[in-house]
C-alpha cells in the first residue's frame, strides 16, 4: 500500500515560481509518467518527491505520512538520475550494494540482492567493472539496478532514456515495461517525449509552465484532451489546428471549407488528428487545399496540404502505398466525431456532457 499524495505544492526559487499549485495522487503499483516540454518543472517536481529539495509550500505524503521534512534516504524511494550519477570509484557491484552497505546489511544479503538484480538486468557479467568501462546502455542498467537493490516503495526515473541512441531507447523502453510488470512497484517516470509517456504509462501527468494541465490514461488524453495544449502535445504526428472564421447555427466556417457546429459553445479553433483525416470527397466534412509535399515511410504516407488562410500545412496520414501528386488540389475529409473544439481560452468545448442545465 504505497500511495503518494501531493497537495497544493509550490516551489519558488527566489522570485521565480517553478511549480504552481500541484495536486496529484499516485496509487500503489501505478506507472505514472510526468510529461511536458523542457523546463516545465518535471525534474523539480521529482526532486521534491525525492526530498533533494525543500518544497516552498504544500504537502507531500507517502502512505498517509507527511514527508516534507523527511530526508531522501528515509522516504522509501529510489531515484535514477538523468546522468545516471554512478559512483565512478566503485565497481558495478559496489555501486549497487552501496545503499545496503550504508544501512548496515550483511554481506550475504547484499551479495544476494545484487546478484538477483543484476540477473534481471543482464549485467551479471560486469559486476567487477568500473562505470567508465561500460557502454551507455549498461550504465543505465547499473543505475536501475542500484535502485532495484534497495527494494523501494517508489521508483523515480528522471528522463532515463534521453542519453541513449534511438535504437537502444526503443529496447530500454521495452525493458521498462517488462520491469514494471515484473516488480509491480509504484513508478514515477519523467520524460519530455510523449511517445515514451504513451507507451509506458498507466497514468500520464501533462505539465506546462509549472502547472499540471491534465491527468489521465494515455487513451483518455488522446481522445479527450481537456485543452488545446494537451491536444497538441499528446499524439504523434501532432493534431492539425484550424481557426474558426465564422458560421451559422449548423456549420462553422473554416479556411478551405466548413465543419459541423458543436451542440454548445462558441469554438475559436478546431483540431483534427492526421490519422483521422483522409483525402476524399465523400466525408461529413471536407476542406480543400493544395498538396505541398509528401513523406513516404513505407508503413504510412504523410501528405502536407496547404490550406489557404492557414499558416501551417495540414498533415494527413494515408496508407503506405498511396501515391500523391505534388501541387494537386485535393479535398481533405473527416468525420464529425473526429473534431475537437476549443474555445478562445484554449479549453476544450466538451461534447460529452451536453446541456443538462442549458
Amino acid at each position: 500500500m504505497t500511495e503518494l499524495v501531493i497537495q497544493n505544492l509550490y516551489k519558488r526559487y527566489g522570485e521565480v515560481e517553478v511549480l504552481k499549485d500541484i495536486n496529484l495522487t499516485v496509487k500503489t503499483g501505478e506507472f505514472t509518467v510526468f510529461v511536458g516540454p523542457s523546463g516545465c518543472g518535471k525534474s523539480t517536481l521529482l526532486r521534491m518527491i525525492c526530498g533533494l529539495d525543500e518544497v516552498s509550500s504544500g504537502e507531500i505524503a507517502i502512505d498517509g505520512e507527511l514527508m516534507n521534512a523527511v530526508p531522501p534516504s528515509k522516504r522509501g524511494i529510489a531515484m535514477v538520475f538523468q546522468s545516471y550519477a554512478l559512483y565512478p570509484h566503485m565497481s558495478v557491484a559496489q555501486n549497487m550494494g552501496y545503499a545496503l552497505r550504508l544501512a548496515g546489511e550483511s554481506k550475504e544479503l547484499i551479495a544476494e540482492r545484487v546478484t538477483r538484480a543484476s540477473e534481471i538486468l543482464k549485467i551479471d557479467d560486469y559486476l567487477d567493472r568500473k562505470p567508465r568501462q561500460l557502454s551507455g546502455g549498461q550504465r543505465q542498467r547499473v543505475a536501475i539496478g542500484r535502485a532495484i537493490v534497495r527494494e523501494p516503495k517508489i521508483f523515480l526515473f528522471d528522463e532515463p532514456l534521453s542519453n541513449l541512441d534511438a535504437a537502444l531507447r526503443v529496447d530500454m523502453r521495452m525493458e521498462f515495461a517488462r520491469l514494471k510488470d515484473r516488480l509491480g512497484t509504484t513508478m514515477i517516470y519523467v520524460t519530455h517525449d510523449q511517445v515514451e509517456a504513451m507507451t509506458l504509462a498507466d497514468k500520464i501527468v501533462v505539465m506546462r509552465d509549472g502547472r499540471i494541465e491534465q491527468v489521465g490514461s494515455p487513451l483518455d488524453l488522446y481522445h479527450h484532451p481537456e485543452n488545446r495544449f494537451v491536444a497538441g502535445f499528446i499524439g504523434s504526428p501532432k493534431m492539425n489546428f484550424l481557426p474558426v472564421t465564422g458560421g451559422d447555427g449548423a456549420r462553422l466556417r473554416l479556411p478551405g471549407g466548413s465543419v459541423a457546429a458543436p451542440r454548445i459553445g462558441k469554438p475559436f479553433e478546431i483540431g483534427v488528428r492526421p490519422e483521422h483525416m483522409e483525402i476524399t470527397d465523400g466525408a461529413e466534412n471536407t476542406l480543400t487545399g493544395n498538396v505541398l509535399t509528401s513523406e513516404h515511410l513505407g508503413s504510412d504516407t504523410f501528405a502536407y496540404v496547404q490550406i489557404e488562410g492557414v499558416e501551417r500545412p495540414a498533415m494527413v496520414r494515408l496508407d503506405g502505398e498511396r501515391q500523391i501528386t505534388h501541387g494537386e488540389d485535393v479535398s481533405i475529409g473527416f468525420a464529425d466525431s473526429a473534431v475537437h473544439y476549443f474555445g478562445s481560452d484554449g479549453l476544450t468545448i466538451s461534447q460529452a456532457q451536453v446541456p443538462a442545465a442549458a
Binding site: G51, S73, S83, P88, A99, L102, R146, R150
Partner: protein, 314 residues
C-alpha cells in the same frame, strides 16, 4: 573473397594535392616546440642549473674564511657532515617541520575549500579574502606572527591572559616547541590559499548528482566525504602532498624572519642551516655540502610530482 580481389585490382592512383606539406601533416611542429622552450631552457641553465653545478663542485672543497683558495678535499665534507650531530638534528627538525606543515596545510586547506564550495551569501568575497596570505610577502606574514607571539605586547599573551589560561606573559618563541609551533603556523597560514584553490578546482568538477544519489542511498556527511569527495580528489591530494612537501622542504624566509633558527638550533631546518654556515660562519664548502644533501631529499618528492603531472598531461 573474389569481390575484394577485383576491387583491389581496380584501385586507382591519385595525384598529390598542391597543398600537401612535404614532411607530412605534423612537419615543423617539433621545431616550433623547441623554439618556444628555448627562453625557459636558457633561464633555467643560468639561474638554476649553473649554481647547482657550482655548489656540487664546492661541496668537494674546503672553503672557509681561513682558506684564501678552496682546497680540494674529495668527499671529506660529506663524511664530516654525516658524523655531525647538529646536521643530523637539522634533518630531524626539517622532517618534523615538513610533516606538520604539510599535514595541517592540506587538512585545513581541504576543510576550507569544502566550506567555500557550499553556496552561501558572501561566498565570493570570502574566497577573495582567503587568498590574502598568498599575496602578502612571507616576511610580512612572519612579522605579523612575530607580533602575535611577542613576549611583551603579543596578541596571544593578551588573549590567553584575558581568558585566564596563563597568569604572566609567556615568551612563546623562546621554547623549543613554542618556536616550532609558531613557524609551522605561519607556513600553514601561508599555504592554505594555494591548497584551497587546488581543492576548490577539484571540487568544481565533482558531479553534484553523484552526491545527491549518495544522499538518497543514505550517505551522511561523513560517508559523502569518505566515499565520494575524497576519492574524487585523490589525484589532487597526491599532487598537493608532493607540492607541499617540496615547498616546505625549501621554506626559508618565514622561518628565518620569525626565529632565525633559534632558540639555539630548535628551528634550524636545512635551509636555515645552509644560510648560517654560509653567511654567518663563512664555511662555504660545508654549506654547499648540506645544500647538496638537501637537494637530494627534495628529489624523490619532486620526481613523484613530475610523474603525476606527466600522467595528467597524457
Amino acid at each position: 573473397m573474389p569481390t575484394d580481389l577485383s576491387q583491389a585490382a581496380d584501385a586507382r592512383t591519385f595525384r598529390p594535392s598542391p597543398h600537401a606539406k612535404r614532411g607530412g601533416l605534423r612537419a615543423g611542429q617539433g621545431r616550433f616546440g623547441v623554439m618556444l622552450l628555448l627562453p625557459a631552457l636558457i633561464a633555467f641553465s643560468l639561474i638554476v642549473l649553473s649554481p647547482f653545478v657550482q655548489a656540487l663542485g664546492l661541496s668537494l672543497y674546503k672553503y672557509t674564511i681561513s682558506t684564501p683558495e678552496p682546497i680540494f678535499v674529495g668527499l671529506a665534507n660529506f663524511k664530516k657532515l654525516l658524523a655531525d650531530p647538529t646536521v643530523r638534528g637539522s634533518f630531524v627538525t626539517t622532517a618534523v617541520y615538513v610533516f606538520f606543515t604539510t599535514f595541517f596545510s592540506i587538512t585545513l586547506g581541504l576543510a576550507w575549500a569544502i566550506i567555500l564550495n557550499e553556496p552561501f551569501k558572501g561566498r565570493n568575497a570570502l574566497r577573495g579574502i582567503s587568498l590574502l596570505p598568498w599575496i602578502m610577502p612571507a616576511t610580512v606574514s612572519a612579522f605579523i606572527f612575530g607580533w602575535i607571539f611577542n613576549s611583551r605586547y603579543g596578541v596571544l599573551n593578551a588573549v590567553a591572559m584575558e581568558f585566564g589560561f596563563i597568569e604572566h606573559p609567556q615568551a612563546w618563541l623562546s621554547t623549543t616547541s613554542g618556536a616550532m609551533t609558531a613557524i609551522v603556523m605561519v607556513k600553514v597560514w601561508l599555504s592554505i590559499p594555494l591548497f584551497m584553490s587546488f581543492f576548490l578546482a577539484g571540487l568544481a568538477s565533482m558531479d553534484r548528482e553523484q552526491i545527491e544519489a549518495a544522499r538518497v542511498d543514505g550517505a551522511g556527511n561523513y560517508n559523502v566525504l569518505k566515499d565520494h569527495i575524497l576519492p574524487h580528489l585523490r589525484p589532487v591530494i597526491l599532487v598537493v602532498v608532493v607540492l607541499g612537501m617540496i615547498g616546505n622542504l625549501q621554506q626559508f624566509d618565514s622561518i628565518y624572519a620569525l626565529t632565525g633558527g633559534g632558540p639555539v638550533r630548535a628551528t634550524s631546518v636545512l635551509s636555515v642551516e645552509v644560510y648560517r654556515r654560509a653567511f654567518e660562519q663563512w664555511d662555504i664548502g660545508m654549506a654547499a655540502t648540506i645544500g647538496v644533501l638537501w637537494v637530494a631529499t627534495i628529489l624523490p618528492p619532486a620526481y613523484f610530482y613530475l610523474r603525476q603531472l606527466m600522467k595528467g598531461a597524457e
